[in-house]
Symmetry: D2
Subunit: 341 residues, 4 copies
C-alpha cells in the first residue's frame, strides 16, 4: 500500500470547507494543514478536521512534506498560488476559475507544465452522478449520433450586488460549468456562440452591466447544437438539468431531491423541490472530484492522469468570453480553434 498523499488546503471559506470535507473522506489522502488569510477561520477548520492551521503557506509548500495543494482561496490569488506550488514540485488542485483571463489561465497551465506537476481544475459537475450517467450513455452509443444538447442552469436567488461585481458576470460565473458539461458530455468542441439575454429579475444586474436571464446557443465542430438556459433566480430553488438528443434516442436528467416522497392532497400531487443549492446538489460530485485528484496522484504520470485539466478550464473560459461578447454585440461569435491543447 502506498503512503497517503499529504495535502495542504489553502482557503477555509465556503468552498474551502467543501474541499476539507471531501479530503477527510477521500481514501489515500491526509490533510496536513489549512491556511487562510483569516487565521481564526483556518484554526476553526483545522480543529474540525483534526489538522493544523498553517500561517505561512510558502514554508509548507517548500518543506518537502507537501505532496499536493488544494487551492480554494479568492479567485484573484489562484494564479499566484498555482505558480508557487508548481515551483516547489507540489501537485495542484485549483478551484474554478483557474485564473481571471485567458492569458493568466495560459500562464497557470504553462507553469505547471514547466515544473511537471499535475493540475486539476474544480469543474466539479463532471463528477455528478447524472452527468456521469449521461456522458457514459452518450459514449456507449445508447442514443446514436448526438444532434443537440440542453443544459438548464438556474440559481435559486440573486447574489448580493458586491458578488455580482466580483463574479465576472453571469456567463463567467455560472455558465462556465454548463459549457464544460457540454464539452465533456459531447466530447466535442464549440465553434460558434450566440447569446440572447435580458435583465428581468432585478435592475441591479443591468446596472452592473450583467444579464439575469439568458439563452446561449452553441454550435459544435460536429454540427451538433447546444443550448444553455440560465437565470439568476427562480421561485422554486436550484434547477440543474441536462438533456441530450441523439439520432436514436435521448437522455434527460431530473433534479436530485432530499427524499422521494410524494404528498397527495386537495392541491395536487407534490414532489419535493430540488436540493437547495450547489453545496447540497453537488456534494457527491465534490467528493468524487477530490477522490479523482487523489487517485491521479498515485498514477505513474499524475499530470496525464488528471480528469479535468487546465486546458479544459481554458476552453471553457473562451466560450464564456464568446458568450459575453455575443450578448454585448448582439451577433454570433465564431471561436478560433484552440491552440492550448
Amino acid at each position: 500500500m502506498k503512503a497517503a498523499r499529504r495535502v495542504l488546503l489553502l482557503g477555509a471559506g465556503r468552498i474551502g470547507q467543501v474541499h476539507a470535507r471531501a479530503l477527510s473522506q477521500a481514501a489515500g489522502a491526509v490533510m496536513i494543514g489549512v491556511h487562510d488569510t483569516d487565521a481564526a477561520r483556518a484554526a476553526e477548520l483545522a480543529r474540525q478536521y483534526n489538522t493544523v492551521p498553517i500561517a505561512d503557506p510558502e514554508e509548507a509548500l517548500a518543506s518537502g512534506a507537501t505532496d499536493a495543494v488544494v487551492i480554494g482561496t479568492s479567485s484573484d490569488s489562484h494564479l499566484d498560488f498555482v505558480g508557487r506550488a508548481a515551483r516547489h514540485g507540489v501537485h495542484v488542485f485549483c478551484e474554478k476559475p483557474l485564473a481571471l483571463n485567458v492569458a493568466d489561465i495560459e500562464a497557470a497551465i504553462a507553469v505547471c507544465r514547466q515544473y511537471g506537476v499535475a493540475l486539476q481544475v474544480g469543474l466539479n459537475r463532471r463528477f455528478d452522478p447524472n452527468a456521469l450517467e449521461i456522458a457514459g450513455a452518450v459514449r456507449a452509443g445508447r442514443i446514436g449520433r448526438p444532434l443537440s444538447m440542453r443544459v438548464t442552469s438556474r440559481d435559486p436567488a440573486p447574489p448580493p450586488r458586491e458578488f455580482i461585481r466580483r463574479s465576472g458576470g453571469l456567463f463567467h460565473d455560472m455558465s462556465i460549468h454548463d459549457f464544460d458539461l457540454c464539452r465533456f458530455i459531447l466530447g466535442d468542441e464549440v465553434v460558434e456562440v450566440m447569446t440572447m439575454g435580458s435583465c428581468l429579475i432585478d435592475p441591479m444586474f443591468a446596472e452592473e452591466g450583467d444579464a439575469d436571464v439568458a439563452t446561449i446557443c452553441l454550435r459544435f465542430a460536429s454540427g451538433a447544437l447546444g443550448v444553455v438556459e440560465t437565470t439568476r433566480a427562480t421561485g422554486y430553488g436550484y434547477d440543474q438539468r441536462i438533456e441530450v438528443l441523439g439520432r436514436d434516442g435521448a437522455l434527460e436528467s431530473e433534479n436530485l431531491t432530499a427524499h422521494r416522497v410524494i404528498l397527495r392532497d386537495r392541491r395536487g400531487q407534490s414532489a419535493p423541490l430540488p436540493l437547495p443549492f450547489f453545496l447540497e446538489r453537488y456534494e457527491i460530485a465534490f467528493g468524487r472530484q477530490m477522490q479523482s485528484f487523489i487517485d491521479a496522484l498515485g498514477a505513474d504520470d499524475p499530470a496525464g492522469a488528471i480528469a479535468v485539466s487546465g486546458v479544459d478550464a481554458l476552453l471553457a473560459h473562451r466560450i464564456c468570453d464568446a458568450a459575453a461578447q455575443s450578448w454585448r454585440e448582439r451577433r454570433p461569435i465564431v471561436l478560433q480553434p484552440a491552440d492550448g491543447g
Copy 2:
C-alpha cells in the same frame, strides 16, 4: 335552441378526415357535404360520416344553405377558397397555413373583413390540454412575471423529399405551431429572432436547402426570452413539450401517452412512449378547435368571437420568415411591429 350550423368540408385527405371527425362530434354543427378534387375520396368520406359528396363547391357556397366552410385542401388553394367563401358570406375555418406568404395571408384577412365573415385558422395546439393549462396558469399569475419559455418540438421521422419541397421548410412547416404557442402562452409579441441550425439527420434536407435540427431564440416585447428546439426525427417518436419559467415558479408539460403503465424489469423502469404523431397527440385539440369555431359562429359577432384569427396566422408566419432568414444569414433578425392587427 338555435339551428345547427351547416358546414361544408373542403378536402378529404388526411387533415380533411381529422376535421370530418371533429365536425361529427361537435355540438351544434351538421356537415352538409364534402368536396375533394378526388371525387372517390370525397364519396368515401361522405359515406363514412353520413353526408353527401359535393362536386361543385362554388355552387354549394352560393346556395345559401352553407353557413360555414372548413378548408382542408392543399395549401396553395387556401387563399382562393377563403375568397370564394367570403364573397358568399360563408364563415371560414382554414387549416394552416392560411396562405403561402405574407401578402397572400394579408389578402385572405382582408377579404374576410370586407365581407364580414369570421375567419379561424387551424393553429390547433392552442386547444391542447397541456397548452391550455399552461396558458391559464400563466395568465392567472401562478408563476409570476414570465422570464423565459421553451418549446421542444420534434417530429418522429423524416418526411419524404417531395413533402420537404412543398412544406416551405422546417420553420414554416413545423415551427409555426411553436411560435404561435409562445405568443398564445405569453400573451406577448416577438421582436427579435436568432436561429442556429444544422443538417445532421439526412443530407436530403441540406440538398433541399433545409435544416433538420434547429434552435430558434426569440425575444419578446416584454424582454422575456423564448427558445424553440426542433428536429425532423427522433429515435423515440413525437416529442411535444413546453416549459415556462416565471419569477415565482415554472410550468412544464410532459408528453401525453396512450396509457400510464410502468414496466419494471431487469432493464429499468419503463414508461410508455409519447403518442405517435400529431393525429393522435392532438386529437383532443382538433376536437376542441372545431367546437370553438362552431361556438363562435353562434355569437352575436362571429368574427370577433374567433379564438385564433387571421392576424395570429400572419404574426406566426412573420416569425417563420425571420427564423428562416436568421438561419440563412447567420445573424439576428429584428421584427418590425405588426400593422396587421
Copy 3:
C-alpha cells in the same frame, strides 16, 4: 356493410346518460329510443341524442325493430328487464350488478341462454387503457409468472346515507370492479378471501353495517396472491391504480389526469390530481365497452363473442359475498369451485 344494430336504452339517469353517449359514438349502432320511469328525463335524453322517448319498453322489445337493449335502470329491475328482452330474442347489455344475489344472477344467465341471446355485463374497467395494457403484458409473459397483484381503489368522497343502504355495501358496490379486474388480469380464479375492515371516515357507515376502509386479500388457484385496498373517501380525489408482480418484473399503473403539466413553486413540484370520478376516469372505457358489445352483435355467435359475460358477473359477485362474510366473521372464507361456467 351490415346494417347498424338498433339499440333501445332503458334508463336515462346518470349511467343511462353515459351509455347514451357511448352509443352515439359507437360505429355500427343506432339508438332507436330511450325509456325511463321518469318520462321527462327520457324525453330530454332522447332530444339530446336525436332519438325518441319510449313510454312502453315491452312494446318496443316485442316490435321486432329492436336488436339489442342497454339496461341502465335501477339495480332491482335488472333481472326483470333481462328476462323480458331475452324472451323477445333481444340481445342484452346490462349495467352491473346483473342482479342482486347469486340466485337472481344465475336466473339472468339462464334466461339468456334459454333464448339464445347475448348477455354482456357492465364491468367496464376491463376496457380501461391501463387495465388493457397490464392484462396484455401479463398474458404476453412480459413479467413472467404472476406472484401477486394489488388494486388500489378509493372513492373521492362518501356517498349519501341513502345510497349506502341501497348499495349492497362497500364490497358489492365498489370492490366488485376490483375483483373482476383481478380475475381478468391474472386469468385466474379466486379460491380464498380474507378481509380486514374498519369504520374510520364516518360513523354513518358503521351505523349502516358497513366498513369505510378495507383490505381484502385474495388467494388464486395458481397460488398467486391479490390484495384490494379500498376506501370510501380520500382527501385527493379518485384513486384507481393497479400493480402486478411477476417472477421477472412488475407492472404498475398511475392515475389518469386531465393534463400533464407540472407546476414548480416554493411549495414543491406539483402534478395534477387524478380525474375526479368514474364518469371522467372511465370515459374511454365506457366507450370501448359499448363498441365491444356492438361488435359482438355482429359476430356469427354473438353470445360467444361477448367480452364480459354473465358468468364473469356471477364469479365477481361470489367474491363480494366472501369478502363481506370474511369481514363480518373475521376469518378466511374458502370459495367453492364455480359451477356457473
Copy 4:
C-alpha cells in the same frame, strides 16, 4: 467540547463493515477496536479504519476504556454480548434481531435496565430519508387521521438455503423491518395480524417451511389498517416503498436510485432501477442511525435518549410471531397488549 465516545465494534462481517463505516464518519465517536471470531477479518477491518483488532472482547469491555459497544456478530450471540457489555456499564448498540425469541429479547432489555446502560437496536429503516419524511408529515398532520398504510418490501433475489434455515423465516428476517416502520410511522400499536402466503418462487422455501411471497394485514389500536406486501425475489431488484393514506391526503415514497437520468428510445422511457440491495439503499440510514446512537450517549440520560429501544425490538418481534402463526394456522391472530413498555 465533550470527549469522543470510545466505541468497540464486535463483528467484522458484512454488517460489521457497514457499522465500521458509519462509525468512522460519525461525529463524536472513535472506534477503539474490532473483534471478530475470525481474527484475520478483524485485522483487515481494523487496518482499513485505522484502529486495532481485539482478541478478547471481555477484556476490552472490562477495561474502563470502552464507552459503548456495537454488536454486529451472529444473531445467536447477541444476548450474550448485550449482557456482558451491560454488566461492565458499557452502552449497547445491537444489530437486529436483538435476540432470537421473546424471552431472550426481554432478558436483553432487562439486563440493560438493571445496569443502567443505553440499548439501541438496529432497526435502521427509521433513519431512511423517505421514512423520516413520511413519519414527519404524518405527525405534522399533513394527511389528517391515518386510515391505512402499505409497505412494499421485496428482496431482489432468493438467499441460499442455508441462510433461509438460519434466518428465522420470511417474517422474522424481512418483515420485522416493515412492521417496525408501521409502528414508527403511525405511532400506533398492532392489535391483530392476518397473513396470506405462498411458495411460488422456489420450492426450496416450502421445503424449509417458509413462504416466498406473502401479504400481512395489520389492524392498529386506532382502527387503522396496515398491509405489508413482501417477496423473496423480483425481476427488477430491491423494491422498498411506503404509502400512507390519511383522511385528508396520502404520502407515497418511490425507490431511491443511483441517478435521475431517463433514457428515451424506441422501447420506451426508461428510468433507473432501484439501488441494488440494503447496503446501498440504506447507506444514509445506517450513517444516521449510528450518529443517533452516538448523540444519545452524550445526553444526560442516554438510555432515555435512544431512538429505537429494546421494547421496539420486542414489539416488532411479537408481530413477526403473530404473522408466522397466522400464516401457519390460516386465521387472524389477536395480539395481547404489550407489557414490555
